[in-house]
Symmetry: D2
Subunit: 366 residues, 4 copies
Amino acid sequence: MASNSFGEIFRITTFGESHGQMIGVIIDGCPAGIFIDESEIKNQLARRRTAQSIFTSGRKEDDSFEIVSGYFENKTTGAPITFIIKNMDVKSDDYINLENTFRPSHADFTYSAKYGNRDYRGGGRSSARETTLWVIAGTLANQILLQNNIRIKAYVSAIGNIATQKNYQQFDFNTIDSNEVRCPDDNCATQMIEYLNDLKQNGDTTGGVITCVVQNMIAGLGDPIFEKLQSKLAAAMFCINTVHGFEYGSGFAGASMNGSKHNDLFNNVNMETKSAETTTNNSGGIQGGISNGMDIFFNVAFKPIASIKQEQVTANVNNELSSLVISGRHDACVVPRAVPIVEAMTALTLLNAFLKNNAYNNLNLK
Amino acid sequence: MASNSFGEIFRITTFGESHGQMIGVIIDGCPAGIFIDESEIKNQLARRRTAQSIFTSGRKEDDSFEIVSGYFENKTTGAPITFIIKNMDVKSDDYINLENTFRPSHADFTYSAKYGNRDYRGGGRSSARETTLWVIAGTLANQILLQNNIRIKAYVSAIGNIATQKNYQQFDFNTIDSNEVRCPDDNCATQMIEYLNDLKQNGDTTGGVITCVVQNMIAGLGDPIFEKLQSKLAAAMFCINTVHGFEYGSGFAGASMNGSKHNDLFNNVNMETKSAETTTNNSGGIQGGISNGMDIFFNVAFKPIASIKQEQVTANVNNELSSLVISGRHDACVVPRAVPIVEAMTALTLLNAFLKNNAYNNLNLK
Amino acid sequence: MASNSFGEIFRITTFGESHGQMIGVIIDGCPAGIFIDESEIKNQLARRRTAQSIFTSGRKEDDSFEIVSGYFENKTTGAPITFIIKNMDVKSDDYINLENTFRPSHADFTYSAKYGNRDYRGGGRSSARETTLWVIAGTLANQILLQNNIRIKAYVSAIGNIATQKNYQQFDFNTIDSNEVRCPDDNCATQMIEYLNDLKQNGDTTGGVITCVVQNMIAGLGDPIFEKLQSKLAAAMFCINTVHGFEYGSGFAGASMNGSKHNDLFNNVNMETKSAETTTNNSGGIQGGISNGMDIFFNVAFKPIASIKQEQVTANVNNELSSLVISGRHDACVVPRAVPIVEAMTALTLLNAFLKNNAYNNLNLK
Amino acid sequence: MASNSFGEIFRITTFGESHGQMIGVIIDGCPAGIFIDESEIKNQLARRRTAQSIFTSGRKEDDSFEIVSGYFENKTTGAPITFIIKNMDVKSDDYINLENTFRPSHADFTYSAKYGNRDYRGGGRSSARETTLWVIAGTLANQILLQNNIRIKAYVSAIGNIATQKNYQQFDFNTIDSNEVRCPDDNCATQMIEYLNDLKQNGDTTGGVITCVVQNMIAGLGDPIFEKLQSKLAAAMFCINTVHGFEYGSGFAGASMNGSKHNDLFNNVNMETKSAETTTNNSGGIQGGISNGMDIFFNVAFKPIASIKQEQVTANVNNELSSLVISGRHDACVVPRAVPIVEAMTALTLLNAFLKNNAYNNLNLK
């Protein structure tokens, strides 16, 4: 079933395999008349790219994009905007031995079971290369949100067992990119880097947690019952391949709190500006599925990536067990690179909520 | 924007307020020719109902449903099936003072900010009474899944700080309902009950965690990229009012594991039966967004419910602070009652994935 | 597959069978804060109702509706608004002999073939009684459009072979309801009435054409390629059971015209007010799938209703041929009653287009 | 609002402007394991292409497509299949003077009014070049339908005032392509060709009618109420730029018939094979929105294309009137080229209905 589109009003559709000819994204429903900030897209792609540090894979992805539709004389036209990226530095030979073999904890088996065949080169359609396209579209969405004052920022809050004990209010978001792991807690960052160095030498990998914060929100985004804002955000985050957990506001910790402590007392409400101020923010900026104007914040847990350099036993289509060593170029930890991906999926989600809410603004009614 | 429907193939649409005339659910896309097991629906509603134990609210909800369409001579007809429940035991007077006052951590402020007005009686549309309808529809969905062999079971794994240390394989699911808190770990259950007794005396509330397991799965459910099975499950769980966290497979703990330990090695794969067996199951039965035939399991974190009996300071529409004591009838902990709700939303999600997958079965192709 | 919902932003979902306990419609996505003009809904229902004239069936439908959700203190709340109508004057006995017999040109066979069973009483789900619900929802949609200045008017332009030769500009729309057939051309109306009297005596039926006009349009409604406004209008009209044709602007006649005559020359364009004036309007107010501000107009062709009082040969589930005389109460011509149905479906379509377009208004962009 | 996707299960998304870098289509939800018959796609594209005869425009469109995703080792993989066509023979200079001028009966004004700007080169996004992509995707859909026995055939039944008096049963569909106008009635074809020759000399254009027939149908495709098969087909046809009318079965003529003559009497029904045979087929193979197994047939009316070579008066963005002569390369009549487009949109519609219906096949139920 068709499943490669995200969003209802501002909708993206993606295509392409890791080692195919090209990958691309169609952005449908973008407001007309916008200048696309290509340099900001390049910035965000650079943040996502492999080979940016010692912990990430050696593949030099060429993320040079072309805009091939929907953009005319430096303005969006309301028509679908298409970005394509031609695949260059592909080494499919690394994957030939994977034609009939299922890498552990990859999508190899499930794709084969569902479809009968698969493009096994470089992970094919299930490769994280796909997320390049999300970052492109998300950066454009973010540009629109920013002009409407909404600001999204994500950072790494844990890698392996090393987790910052500070909360987001204690950080200067401008420092996020000041270290290789995108953790604004300097002490933690140092430990994380050391840990990843060790892991890399062992050919092993680990996971981590990204915290994302949305500031300058207005109240009213999200819709009750089955289109709650947290439901949409969770759905978006679990589109990211390695995500295994999502929590917002008090999250899992909230499950062990008492209501008397968990409740967010109102300090101030303003029905004109549609804003509220609460003494605490365990609600994470969302109540009843609708934003209340306080910061939205959430954590996203990433499992370790499955491509380790250690020998593993695995099975093939004929159910024969054999030893597998994955060559190719892979990261020790995907989490620092996933920061712009989390921001992108957040932007796509919020822009849809924003436009849906706007559909009801300024009507003549009585 | 329309937001009261869930599912694409087997789609439910709900309506009604807690203290309105009635609530109801339309089930659209149900296969024809099915006998609806009304007694099983009653069982599940009884599990969800308040007033079943000392920890839950005093309201005696009358969940007597009527089937008013789509069911003829004891068979579904393919037409939309509508269940209605008339609201009986409503005491709206308890809520009169809430017309202009926003209860902390409720949806009162956000509904008012978004819509300008709201039905303040009993929480109106944001009341958990809505979930009665989900349980009805989910039980019907579950009936279809069961006949296709898929089995869904949920239980309480934590309340407040008391959490079972056992995993689901260690439990006999038949014992889940043997205690008031629906925790199959007897020791834990005893402590939870004690804890809730204390809380209730203090007029306080707490949260908890529900674990849900899907057994006898086949490989192939879920679709890549933006319709991943975990994304659909997460979206479903975050429709539940008080849910603040979701994790599947290794979840948040997986974020601190190494790949070499986290990877699930294949023992056995069978391309004919579309099943796989792995030595571990950190993937939680889903790889690349598609079920692999192993058990699916996930945890859902619930915040404490916001209606406490202690005095709180809050604000009203005019931004005046005042003291609020919530009367009405409320639970000390919603989690035991939420077990059938989690099962219902899981069933609705999986049945949609099942039917979508089935659309591609038995085609003539070459 | 779920198929009982219409619209994306302002979405209705309907349920109920002709002779079931009740029928109902959920209106999801209605703006909050609106007073529902129930008396106007009653007016429109009266226009649709049978038994209003000698040409229509003897069934006295009780269209008394109740609003059971989403409406509080005389204002919509943003929650789904549900109208129900209890079925009263049902004579299911008339239909007992239809359990296994397929009435010619009805939905009996196709429902049975698709679903295996069906509610055969009074046409069950395929009965035109369903359209009561559309009129209710459409009248509410129309109320919103009217406050934003858009006016929808439909009338009967042909019954059987009797067709008005005048176009809509020559009519005073206030006279549409001045005769039983809702044809504003008095001469035609007289002939139509005579013709229908004859038909009724013969137990026969006939079809006709309804013309619908939308005035005070603005430019910009509708979306290119696959959501063209004419596509949405056509889809809406073909939801009406007996509709067999739809044409807009020049329609089928346009197919034999030359471009030099068909082209609509611009007299005036105003980019500020988003309006255009053309010397002719063969485009029917829509160009490239988007409204241009000129009147939208279209014709909808209705086949004769299938329930005639004459003896017919037909088949049953066992493929035995037998003679059938349909008793029950049926119209000689459904077209006059279909006028408010066409208006309702037009309103639902345009309101969705209006809200979608509005989602892009008043954004901060650059 | 996003509007460039068609279909729910087998969904296409298109992009690209007439004179942009490339156009493309993503086909999402295609069954895996299919060999794409590229030579058949080329055949169908050739049928759609301009410059195939003296009546069509001089533009030599290079429709050479590349498949850039979703196709691996000559099999579809279940991943989105992307076809791109690079635009070669573009002469944008012809359009420079159209930057601020609105061609009569084109989409120029409405695009400008809706979006504020537009790609004016070659009609930009509103160009019929888009339909190349539909033909590609529709041919693939058709391939799947054919393997499941369903056959779609369209032909030209009228051009200008010249219309065949024969119905489709009288034609040998193999002769459709035997003349330039794709009319299987030889006499008519000769007259049509003569007429188009005259028109071309006058720089004028005309419209026409295409008849489409679907044979070897099974009963059960389509869904009641708002997803009726005729509603879906109509919606599909009105996506074609110049379509102004659609009728199925008896169509507009049915509106003047009596029920006693219009009713299709059953000869034979077979509940096992889900097929029916009726003496007449005024229902056009669809009853109650669901196919009954008889042939589906419908007519689609096309207005004359708006680009005539005669001088016309028109307006620009500043509301100044001026004389316009459209240069460029344009057809005298689009209808012969539209035959494969109608077939393609029919195939896309039916394949979706087929897959939706199949979702309910072979379930275990009781």
